[in-house]
Symmetry: C2
Subunit: 347 residues, 2 copies
């Protein structure tokens, strides 16, 4: 580690990635990014929770298929989700017979999984590691807010939890994109207590990790084709850009947020945008990885963001701690000193 | 990885370890293993959940103190707990300003944290990594079973969730115990649906991981001074020994279970024993690490065990998937072929 950033000198590759979504995701502008759209919120199961497990399992199997991999070729799965005790994942992978390490980073889970998978492969501990996460609108509403039947009205700052899952396989193959470095997030809590304004709670965490990544690597923001956040939505995205503006850095032209990409603000009733662990995961696996594979993007900094609250402690009046892990994905390999720095240096 | 087992060739050390407990733990036979006993179930906070965060935070600070470490010297914390969304940990470490990766393995969390911390240090990614977990009887009862005020009667197979936390620092120092290898657990579900019989649900997971560890390393059970499980309790411990007996292997004289060690069956009303992520963590940090440090134990295989259910899916009729990660801790360093194998070979 330099500072808070881990460098992967062997540049492990994202060898395969898959995204599965629900009806809303299929109706949105990103529908082509999904390998599979299933319009049944139960995913042919009896409950939403079982449905989420099926959704996650499907993403794992799709990622294996796309990489022409058998499950025996995966040394370890790193996964988690938003359901209490991460049951979306544990029940989803239950019958796969693959070693499993449970992770929890709320909506930042995909970058935590990508970081740890890269560690396993770069360190020579595993040949292939699989990272997976999911979220499910109906299961999340019931658990975090109100059962759908209640018909509660959502506030303007609220975000719509994606029914989506993303899975990716990291290996030592020579196939872009490569994972070059990653900054481990710190818990950041600026005192936001409104659980219907996750974007505001999470923006400072994204700012903290992106800023530390840039400082640790010496890279400048416009080295990247895009600086991507997980699910800040409209409100959090604006705040993130304003936080960087205070440092004299304008990231607006570079910044993309999965939470503002997944749905159509005009045609879908999603208030401040999308959220959920499956939002960043499906956009990473279905949108950004393909563009990095083809070389359309050369480098992105992908900082998924998670709000680490629970309904219980939020009801007890606690504010919302957040976290963001930032991963640098690249079309190219090489070590950091090879990079021709460009753009204005981050002070 | 060989099979499902990661070998740590540099043998990272558990440089510091601390355990903090509550009143029941202080009244039990293991009270001397705790660095601090706090008899207030609220830990001077307003709610049980905040109390658990305080408990976990205290374990982190004690581990730092015992290792004469400042928090700036920790590169990454790997932690999680049993509360929904792991809020015991996220709120507990919120103000520490240390990079954090959330993990979830239910009561197996301490071995997952130890495994990943060892990976960070052995791979050269971190100088020091800290693993931490906790559980809290009152918070767990409310979340998983009934609020205490309800006065529900507990069944004979039920276990008593420990109010305890354990934290340990892994570093490259030359100071026993060393982490030599670890087997990543697979999700195992033998169809047990009784959430008041976690021992029965978890025993097959411990069996699976211990057996794979022995197969992958070529070590024999009696190479170890103790084969330790996390919190199988009376019921699960008996089942584990019976499962090995089917293979013609008697581990009874070697087997220790933290769930049967923490409390006095005679003097404390704990039914089948102790459970909770803090049970295995506090016994590892407060009992086994000191004995390995002094050389009283030369080698132990520590397999904490976790039940990966949630109350929601259990109420939906689902059975209980379980997991166990097994870590080999040793007074000595060296590579596996140096070991003089002894005892009967595992077939």
């Amino acid at each position: 580690m330099k500072g808070n950033t881990v460098f992967f000198n062997s540049a492990p590759a994202v060898a395969s990635a898959a995204a599965v979504g629900g009806k809303m995701e299929g109706d949105g502008p990103m529908s082509a990014c999904f390998d599979e759209i299933n319009e049944d919120p139960f995913f042919s199961c009896d409950t939403f929770e079982q449905g989420e497990s099926r959704l996650l399992r499907e993403a794992v199997l799709r990622a294996l298929d796309k990489g022409s991999l058998k499950k025996e070729q995966i040394d370890v799965i790193l996964g988690g989700d938003l359901l209490d005790q991460c049951v979306g994942t544990t029940y989803g992978i239950r019958d796969l017979d693959i070693p499993y390490l449970g992770i929890y980073g709320a909506c930042s889970t995909v970058t935590e999984g990508l970081l740890l998978s890269s560690l396993f492969v770069d360190g020579g501990y595993a040949s292939r590691a699989l990272a997976v996460t999911s979220s499910h609108f109906c299961a999340a509403e019931r658990q975090y807010r109100f059962p759908l039947n209640y018909g509660g009205q959502r506030t303007p700052t609220s975000q719509y939890t994606a029914t989506a899952a993303g899975a990716l396989v990291v290996s030592a193959e020579r196939l872009p994109p490569y994972v070059r470095a990653a900054t481990v997030g710190k818990v950041v809590d600026m005192g936001v207590t409104d659980a219907a304004n996750m974007g505001a709670a999470m923006a400072p965490a994204a700012y903290s990790s992106i800023k530390r990544f840039l400082a640790d690597t010496g890279l400048r923001p416009d080295f990247f084709d895009a600086i991507v956040t997980g699910d800040l939505g409209k409100v959090g995205s604006r705040l993130l850009c304003e936080l960087f503006e205070r440092d004299g850095i304008d990231i607006r032209s570079l910044h993309r947020d999965c939470g503002t990409m997944l749905y159509s603000f005009e045609e879908q009733d999603v208030h401040a945008g999308a959220s959920g662990a499956g939002c960043a995961a499906s956009m990473l696996c279905g949108f950004f990885v393909p563009k990095l594979r083809s070389g359309e993007f050369k480098n992105i900094l992908f900082a998924a963001t998670g709000a680490l609250l629970s309904p219980t402690v939020n009801a007890q009046g606690e504010s919302i701690p957040s976290i963001s892990h930032a991963v640098w994905l690249s079309y190219e390999t090489g070590t950091v000193p090879d990079i021709r720095f460009k753009g204005r240096r981050l002070s």
